[in-house]
């Protein structure tokens, strides 16, 4: 019995199949927990799946590179998924035109604030250059953020972690913050959630109202593009 199990493990641990399956099932389980919590932003499916997978990799003494040989098939889909963001953007093009000027102004201000404030605060608090580069694009959706970080020489996988944490923090903070400030405009609230906290903020905005959700979705796509343009430009000046 023992030798049979170990020979199966030897086969599995070297094939991409095991870690591809582990990634998919970690997500399925984490996603159902997220649903069962009433889509509580604190019960994030990404964080749960990542923690479970890391525990499994550490317990089985598997290096990340071995894991990634299986997980790369899922990772590869980030590119086509980024392109697919064009569909909701096109669908809402009508509202984009109508509120074009306020949105453009808010987008520019929000995008610059997101980049400068996070990098600035981390720099003041003594973070090193690699961390700063990986922080710059933390407010935009992961596929874009990772591509931007790669381009300016940061660590894309560190950025992925920052993006997810930003999304969770933004989703938790957004409603109480705007209520406290007395902001009622659903379009503005949704737009801000999308600029600051990408897809996780957008998902949160949809729970509050459809108008907020639609504007958050537009903001997420637009800030993805804006940040992709701004960060490499700012990086040229400061690095």
């Amino acid at each position: 019995m023992r030798p049979a199990i170990s020979s199966i493990w030897v086969y599995l641990s070297a094939s991409p199949l095991l870690w591809l399956a582990a990634t998919l099932w970690a997500y399925i389980v984490a996603h159902s927990l997220h649903e069962r919590s009433g889509r509580n932003p604190l019960v994030s499916s990404v964080s749960i799946a990542v923690i479970a997978l890391i525990a499994l990799l550490v317990a089985t003494d598997t290096p990340y590179d071995t894991y990634f040989q299986g997980a790369q098939f899922v990772h590869f889909l980030l590119g086509p998924a980024t392109v697919a963001l064009g569909v909701p953007l096109y669908t809402h093009l009508g509202s984009v035109r109508r509120l074009f000027i306020p949105m453009l102004a808010a987008l520019l201000a929000g995008s610059v604030t997101a980049i400068v404030s996070s990098v600035g605060i981390a720099w003041l608090a003594g973070a090193n250059l690699l961390t700063l580069k990986s922080l710059a694009s933390k407010s935009v959706t992961t596929p874009i953020a990772m591509a931007v970080t790669e381009q300016i020489g940061g660590l894309p996988s560190l950025t992925a972690v920052f993006v997810i944490l930003t999304g969770i923090l933004g989703a938790v903070v957004v409603t109480p913050l705007f209520n406290a400030l007395g902001i009622r405009d659903r379009q503005a609230r949704g737009f801000a959630a999308g600029v600051a906290a990408h897809g996780i903020g957008t998902a949160r905005a949809f729970q509050v109202s459809d108008v907020s959700g639609a504007f958050a979705g537009i903001a997420m796509a637009l800030n993805g593009i804006m940040t992709a343009l701004l960060v490499p430009l700012l990086a040229r000046f400061f690095v």
Binding site: Y27, A49, V50, I54, Y64, Y67, A71, V74, H75, L78, G79, A81, T82, V83, A84, L85, G86, V87, P88, Y90, R98, I101, P102, A105, A106, A109, G110, T113, A114, S117, S118, I121, A122, W123, L124, T131, S139, T142, P143, I144, M146, Q151, P156, S157, L158, A160, V161, F162, I164, L165, T166, L177, D185, R186, A192, A196, V211, A221, I225, L229
Partner: protein
Amino acid sequence: MIFAFSLFVLCQLLGEVLVRLAHVPVPGPVLGLVLLVCYLAWRKQVPEDVQRTSSGLLTHLSLLFIPAGTGVMVHIHTLKTEWLPILAALLLGTILTLIVTVFVFTAVARLTGAERVAAPGEAE
């Protein structure tokens, strides 16, 4: 599904090629996104297949972050030594961004008198 997926991959491919040809500092998939919007604008509609495949990919966008997110195990040292600047940057940066964005949006909307469409039952 196959057409839509091939369309997304083609947009991404063209995006990557154009980025390299023109030396623009934008990720290839982002240019691919713009190309897709142009294609849809040219078609003047979203084909059923494209709509369905895009929602399918975007509904489970979180799944696609997992392989990269797991990569944090490689950076555990950075997070241990720099958790304070990182946490401060993420939390304060996000709050600042929310406040600046919402104030600029409402202020400019008021200044330009952009018409607002309130959803039914939205006024509270």
